[in-house]
Amino acid sequence: MTIKEYIESGILEAYVLGSASEEEAMQLLELKTQHPEIRDALYELETDLERIAQSMSIPPPPGALTKIEQNINDLVNIPETKPQLNDGYDHESGNQYIAVESESTHMRVHKVWKLIFAAVFILSKIFLIASIYFYLENRQAQQQIQDLKTELKQYHHSH
């Protein structure tokens, strides 16, 4: 394909409209550096596109620039994050003292404590149920003793 045919193929038009494939775009950019004809044709097309856009231009709303600036500043002013080292040292002031009493209200314990706490909880429930059971059992036994005592008294009286 000659350069003239290449220009005539319409690939430059597709490129300026952003519809050329990546491969075509790479090839075009390479050819552009070697052939001034392509560069000139491309320049003309880009100028044409600018003209079309100019003819359809609409003044942007007055607040648009402020919104853009705000958006950009939000992107720029992302606070720098510092690694949080929670190991008891005061890194900020450079002092190497160990904070004996930590400000944190939380404490870290070994995972095995989870099982121990669960076992203690279950055991406490078992003891609670058992104590209620034995209490009722005992009350019933006392009642029976009382009944027997009365029966015995009555028996003595009758004889």
């Binding site: 319409g10 880009e46 003819s55």
Partner: protein, 155 residues
């Protein structure tokens, strides 16, 4: 180092400002033709310029600035194009009804192909499938559409 960063930020801000001064109106008009709503167009305009800021270092600034901005805007509009395709029936072409000295002189097919490339970011392969015509012919029509634009401007 800090001073260098500040200088870079300053250049960035100045470049974006001058881009805005030169092209915001054109970009607003372009986006409006696609979304047909001023508030939405403004939203996309803001997004496009924020995107310039984000990609500032990756952008090849030797390219034509307008084409560059248009490409960025098209990328920002990707979701909008997708939404149009999901419509029932799918909207595949945005035909501009606004009076336009360039479009008036094109044939219907040239106008259809040009608008699909210009507003919809569609490729010649997609259009060749849709119109059942070889890709070469689609690109030739696109080229003719550009020739029409050129002559209407020269007149």
């Amino acid at each position: 180092m800090v001073k260098q960063n500040e200088a870079l930020l300053q250049t960035k801000a100045t470049t974006i400002h001058s881009l805005y001064d030169a092209y915001a109106g054109m970009l607003m008009g372009y986006i409006f033709e696609i979304v047909k709503d001023k508030t939405l167009a403004e939203e996309y305009l803001v997004k496009a310029f924020s995107s310039v800021n984000k990609q500032f270092n990756e952008i090849n600034w030797s390219d034509n600035k307008w084409c560059l901005l248009q490409r960025i805007a098209k990328n920002e509009l990707t979701e909008f194009y997708k939404a149009l395709k999901d419509c029932d029936p799918p909207v595949t072409a945005i035909n501009t009804n606004s009076p336009n000295k360039y479009h008036d002189r094109m044939t219907d097919e040239q106008k259809h192909i040009f608008c699909n490339f210009y507003y919809n970011k569609r490729t010649s392969a997609e259009l060749s499938q849709e119109l059942n015509k070889p890709e070469k012919l689609i690109r030739a029509q696109l080229k003719e559409a550009f020739a029409v634009i050129k002559t209407s401007h020269d007149n």
